[in-house]
Symmetry: C2
Subunit: 287 residues, 2 copies
């Protein structure tokens, strides 16, 4: 893949460019997006080699197009690039939800191109190319969401692409992806927000490191998150309902006669969290 | 205060000793507790100068006794030291809940001594003197919970004590303390636990940095937390109920026709969290 086009060169798009350069991948990086000033800054930072002047200029010679625009403008961008994509071109994205994105891509993009949905699980509560980092994706997981109609060779090529940024890759259906992410990412975001919002003003100065860590993700961009949450709302409502059941069950243990069961509940959570942390450590530095 | 006795020399007790030494406070540090091996290790690490052989030996000459035992054994320890405390001795603690602790101390300790409840808001999900650090309390807040019956000079002396460890101090009633901590510390702990427990096994490998940060506090010691949660259960139930209301209100915004209100909800949470983070930064490095 010689010619790679990044559409939307912010935190994620910029980090892809910087990461490919740092990994020594031999390719030409073209950047495109709605704001010329952002693109020029991305070129200055070395995240892209050149800024495209038009949609046609951006994708006409591309071997791979990576869509890094917010989920909310995804459909418009697909319609914009579709007529200009060369035959055999690979297209992927970095969206946090996958059912809608994959369905749109499969509907809008020409049959001569190959779309594979991607969700590189890395990011920051910061936004913009100035926070882009060559190692943003290193050791993180990228989920690929092929469907029955997806070209197998294209899936392998997109996997190789993310692995060149030192990511691990896993495959699941768009439906499995959205359900799992609802639990592990979208619900935690909402909980962090609710936890911040429910505090009395007088309690805030008492916030310690624990509270700050627990609520860090609440600082994310509200526009991006609105799009994610609305797109995945059916799953999120189900996640919320399961969380509420957990809380109701736990609340019954707040009883001095149930101290042992409460300690078990806490120990099970602690054990599971510790096991996960250790597994993560092993992934980063396997023996 | 020449003679300071630390009862329970684990993470917090050990960090007090190391912190006093690092600050160059001129005092003699005596350690006491149930496990001789822990005390010997604390002495090796330099967290205490000597290990007391008995309760009488530990407190008979103390100017200040700092109780660093878990909330669950607090009553027994108070009864153990009460007969041996010298007249005029100051006593404080590091417990995470304050109503019960203060009531017990005021009931059990002799009138010739002065108890002031303390809650230094620092810690770790780790436990034990091997994790003790001279700077554990630096820049953190210590809440003092005097009551109508508390000696004013004693409150000032205990404030000076925590400030010698570079802490900020605030005063509030035990009731105010327990209500505020329920929201800002105890509920977040339960939420982190519930969030870990509700995950399907298949989702766990997809956990990113956000999930790990959000759930870090779930790794705390289950016995310590059981005691805290049971002791403060009335407040925690009220906090849970308010959180559930927040979640129910938010759930109604998961509707494409309410995108603007959802974005506002998210932006308000993000803004409040960002403001808090900036305030914390200013506290650590004021201009």
């Amino acid at each position: 893949m010689k010619n790679i086009t990044i559409i939307g060169v912010g935190l994620l798009g910029g980090s892809i460019g910087l990461g490919l350069r740092a990994a020594g991948v031999d390719c030409r990086l073209t950047g495109f997006g709605h704001r010329r000033s952002t693109l020029d800054r991305a070129a200055e930072f070395g995240a892209i080699d050149r800024v495209a002047d038009s949609t046609a200029d951006a994708v006409a010679k591309a071997d791979l197009v990576v869509l890094c625009t917010p989920v909310g403008v995804f459909e418009a961008m697909l319609r914009e690039i579709a007529p200009h994509l060369p035959s055999g071109c690979l297209v992927t994205d970095v969206g946090s939800t996958k059912r809608t994105v994959v369905r749109l891509a499969e509907t809008i993009l020409p049959g001569s191109t190959h779309f594979v949905g991607s969700h590189p699980m890395a990011g920051s509560e910061k936004r913009g190319v100035e926070y882009a980092r060559a190692d943003l994706f290193t050791h993180a997981t990228c989920i690929l969401t092929p469907t029955a109609g997806t070209d197998r060779a294209a899936v392998g090529a997109i996997e190789a692409f993310w692995r060149s940024l030192s990511m691990q890759t896993v495959r699941m259906s768009p439906e499995e992806h959205d359900a799992a992410l609802s639990d592990i990412s979208h619900l935690p975001h909402l909980l962090a927000g609710a936890l911040v919002k429910m505090q009395a003003e007088g309690s805030l100065p008492l916030a310690g490191k624990g509270f700050m860590d627990t609520t860090r993700i609440a600082s994310g961009d509200s526009g991006l998150w609105r799009d994610i949450l609305l797109d995945n709302r059916d799953n999120i409502k189900a996640s919320l309902s399961r969380l509420k059941s957990q809380l109701t069950a736990m609340e019954k243990l707040l009883d001095p006669r149930k101290g042992e069961a409460l300690a078990s509940w806490l120990a099970a959570a602690a054990g599971r969290r510790d096991g996960l942390a250790q597994r993560k450590l092993r992934e980063i530095s396997p023996e």
